[in-house]
Point group: C2
Chain length 172, copies 2
Amino acid sequence: KAIEEVLFFPDSQIACKDHFVGEDGCSRENCRFTHEHNSLSRLYEFIDGARETLDVCVFVICCADLGDLLILAHRRHVKVRVICDDEQIDITGSQIWKLRKAGIAVRTDNSSYLMHHKFVVIDGHTLLTGSFNWTRQAISGNQENLLALNNRRIVRLYGREFEKLWRQFDPR
Amino acid sequence: KAIEEVLFFPDSQIACKDHFVGEDGCSRENCRFTHEHNSLSRLYEFIDGARETLDVCVFVICCADLGDLLILAHRRHVKVRVICDDEQIDITGSQIWKLRKAGIAVRTDNSSYLMHHKFVVIDGHTLLTGSFNWTRQAISGNQENLLALNNRRIVRLYGREFEKLWRQFDPR
Ligand SMILES: [Zn+2]
Ligand SMILES: [Zn+2]
């Protein structure tokens, strides 16, 4: 079935991760996050839907909820690989060291130029790509877009670029 | 005919605008730009191919060659509209005042959040979207992607978002 969706941001409220993709749902009495569907909740669902591989090539990853979803995927034996920009890994809120500590392989560009991509390939068949970095500001402040597609030809081109960069950024 | 192309950057050399889209080609004796096809030359062709409308919604526009192509489109009576981030219009190399002086309508977000999109809708039927800002660094330094599509459903969603932001950023 064709996936052709566009997620636009900002969301007016932050989607509750526990409600949308938690095993037991949300147990907060007065949850300050929204339980209504929005762009972020859809992104949660895409990431949570990964069964085999998650190839994440995103400039900056600072959103703890999205970082947690990568760790959950890793724990359910999805092969998670992350490429991000080397100058972004130590900024406030960066999820990179948490991901590495959890056992997820992360590679960076080691260049003063930007590893500026913001795309994800899920299970080799679904692509998310757009302007959207994984930050709180992108979710609830900025004007952003994220396109979801499963067009085979396009997904293959992004998958191939991921493999090229993964080899290129091998630290050994 | 389906358009399903991905342009990846950086290009190893800057494509010669005059060679690819100039009326008379390139007349430089020893041109320091490349006359071989690459990602930027393809982007030139997309913009130069506009016949009716160019809806440009791009965070930062600093590349003079791309700015010039918008002005050429405007002069051949393409309706060019530009949305960009208000904090980027005065940075070094910004093309925005040049565009406005040429008579192109430019609107900005007037917000401390980012108008972070990087998409273009050409003639209402072709979409370019990705991580790519219109800067020299994005062309020849950074890792970037730009997806070109003419899927009607997807293009319509981006077109609608453009209209929404165009109204939202009306200064009057
Ligand atoms: Zn909740
Ligand atoms: Zn030339």
